[in-house]
């Protein structure tokens, strides 16, 4: 574990533990503490990254760029969700003390996971994330959320069993689970077997096809801000991050070559199933869930190249995905709050009443589809180049075509929800409250800034 970053993990944990004691007098203090904890962390990590990007000075950059970028993303999404929840008028049957504490513990566990240096530590924090997510999914009092929580439990916890089984084979083989030990030792058949178990476990956790069945139900059934939290960061750090890490460990190795085919196939399957699945959906959140499956496929395709370019393309797409998916899910939460539904057939012409929500959606969907000059364009371009360079030309073409399908289904969504003439029954709809718009507007600006100043971000990615 990198001790440089330990404070990013411990401070949210201690804040979470302090919340029950200080929230007795006023619930407002809980919200302030959660926001301040994450804001201070974000400013801190943002300053470190921002300083080097603005000065274009990467010679003095001695940190683990991968971990730092992940911590920045975790804090950004975490803060957006906490800030959004503060003004969302959370249902009365949700225990606010445990709600904010669980989000803070999730942030702490995710940070610990990205700074872990061995598989067992990674597993422990992944479990902590899973159990927190399970409780957070049940936040809403409707039947769907309880069903979603049960599905999440039954479909993702067997994945933990696979992962621990893989880890135990690694232990048997090496006598330890350090990333460096595995990297430096000769990789044999048992290593490939154990890493395959671990990868399958993480693919289930990440909701990658053909293990994606739980994802749409869980994202649809969860409480709206929690859907954004799960889709934006939790399933990515709890599932996909480990696969990128394994790809980084097995860079240019024989084992990497052997696992590569399996990963490329699941990645491609995920991209296609997600894209075609999204076209036929009628529910806003469900469509975003399928889109999420598709975008995760891109990350898997990039990490399956086991090349340096592929890895930093995967990391960059993970960061981008966290930003645009958080915006889209938070927008869906705003639409649900104002109209009471997420069924796209019942919605139309909302742009006349909700212009900020509509425009931030457009920015995010353009970025997801990979339109220049937004951040998503660069990550998709890097993924396609990495695939092409690694000799996987067919996969590169599929990735390119799927990008067009992504654009198509998002335009269908935009047309159904925001464009067209406003029906009379929706005449009383108002734009969401200003505080609810702050996180989505800030992240949308970030999407544009990263895209426009990509030449400054690129040297940071090269450090991964």
């Amino acid at each position: 574990m990198v001790t440089d970053f330990l404070s990013y993990s411990l401070i949210p944990l201690f804040s979470a533990l302090a919340i029950p004691f200080i929230s007795r007098k006023s619930q407002r203090i809980t919200e302030i503490l959660a926001n301040v904890t994450l804001l201070s962390g974000l400013i801190n990590v943002g300053y470190i990254i921002g300083y080097h990007i603005v000065k274009m000075d990467f010679l003095s950059f001695t940190y683990d760029a991968f971990a730092l970028l992940m911590i920045f993303t975790i804090y950004l999404v975490g803060l957006s969700i906490v800030f959004f929840s503060t003004y969302y008028d959370i249902e009365k049957d949700v225990n606010l003390t445990s709600y904010y504490s669980l989000i803070l513990i999730s942030v702490s566990a995710m940070t610990s996971l990205v700074i872990a240096r061995d598989f067992f530590t990674l597993y422990i924090f992944m479990e902590a994330i899973s159990v927190c997510s399970f409780a957070l999914i049940t936040s809403s009092s409707n039947k769907n959320s309880i069903e979603a929580a049960i599905k999440y439990f039954f479909l993702t916890f067997p994945a933990s069993a696979l992962i621990i089984f893989g880890i135990s084979i690694l232990m048997l083989n090496y006598g330890g689970f350090d990333f460096d030990t595995i990297k430096l030792t000769n990789i044999n058949f048992l290593t490939v077997i154990s890493l395959s178990f671990i990868i399958i476990g993480f693919l289930i956790k990440g909701g990658i096809a053909p293990f994606h069945f739980w994802t749409p139900d869980v994202y649809e059934g969860s409480y709206s801000p929690i859907s954004a939290f799960l889709a934006g960061i939790v399933t990515k750090i709890g599932g996909i991050y480990a696969i990128i890490k394994i790809s980084q460990i097995l860079l240019n190795t024989d084992a990497g070559f052997r696992i590569s085919k399996l990963l490329l196939f699941t990645g491609m399957l995920s991209v296609l199933l997600g894209a075609f699945g999204a076209i036929v959906q009628k529910d806003f959140k469900r469509m975003l869930a399928y889109s999420s499956i598709s975008q995760m496929g891109y990350i898997i395709l990039a990490s399956a190249t086991f090349s340096p370019l592929g890895i930093f393309a995967a990391v960059f797409h993970l960061v981008n995905h966290a930003t645009f998916k958080t915006v889209l899910f938070l927008n869906s939460a705003c639409v649900e709050k104002e109209t009471g539904t997420t069924n796209m057939d019942e919605l139309k012409g909302l742009e006349h009443r909700m212009p900020y929500t509509s425009w931030t959606s457009i920015i995010s969907l353009f970025s997801t589809a990979g339109l220049p000059p937004l951040s998503g364009f660069w990550s998709k371009l890097l993924i396609i180049i990495a695939l092409w360079q690694a000799g996987n030309k067919y996969y590169a073409v599929i990735a390119l075509v799927s990008s067009i399908i992504t654009f198509a289904y998002f335009m269908i969504m935009q047309k159904k929800i925001f464009f067209g003439k406003l029906p009379e029954k929706l005449n009383n709809i108002k734009e969401a409250r200003t505080p609810l718009l702050i996180p989505v507007v800030v992240i949308s600006v970030l999407i544009i800034v990263i895209g426009v100043f990509f030449n400054r971000v690129y040297p940071l990615l090269e450090k991964i």
């Binding site: 574990m1 944990l13 979470a16 049957d93 225990n95 422990i124 902590a128 957070l136 009092s141 039947k143």
Partner: protein
């Protein structure tokens, strides 16, 4: 050999008590004692990793979880009117197991000792092993423990509200 048999006896005794105990809290404590016994046994055989995880996760974490959960349902427990007379048979089974095991188990232990592969690590004190080698896990366990407490609070809070609303979700 006496030590092995003593630990073995403690394990079986605590396992039996945890099944027949009427109070859930006693049952949870006995389960912790069982885990401690198992972890000592594992430590003696040189399976240090397994011993550390058994001790910290099973004896520590799970016990705390059980006790916190039991304390939440304490009121319902008093109205429990289960007939537990049939469990009186367990002590007799226990005595039979002890007699049989005193004949067969010693040889089994000696046989097991051949499989011990981590004898080099056996020399290190367990405290050093936990703090120096697996220090990070302490943070992990703290995280898991904290999350478990909040999860119980989160879910039971909802349950209380559902009950108050007449059972409708």
């Amino acid at each position: 050999m006496v030590l092995y048999l003593l630990i073995y006896f403690i394990i079986i005794l605590s396992a039996t008590i945890s099944v027949i105990a009427k109070k859930l809290i006693n049952s949870a404590i006995m389960l912790a004692v069982l885990s401690i016994g198992v972890s000592i046994l594992l430590f003696i055989y040189g399976a240090v990793w397994a011993a550390v995880f058994e001790l910290s996760v099973c004896a520590g974490l799970i016990t705390v979880l059980f006790i916190s959960a039991v304390s939440l349902v304490k009121n319902d427990e008093e109205s429990l009117s289960e007939n537990r007379v049939k469990y009186i048979v367990f002590p007799f089974i226990l005595i039979a197991i002890i007699i049989i095991s005193s004949i067969f188990v010693p040889e089994y232990f000696l046989e097991l000792q051949k499989f011990s592969t981590y004898n080099t690590e056996k020399e290190k004190p367990i405290g050093e092993f936990i703090w120096i080698y697996r220090g990070v896990d302490i943070i992990g366990q703290l995280t898991l423990l904290a999350s478990s407490v909040f999860i119980i609070k989160h879910i039971f809070f909802k349950n209380k509200n559902i009950k108050e609303n007449g059972g409708d979700i």
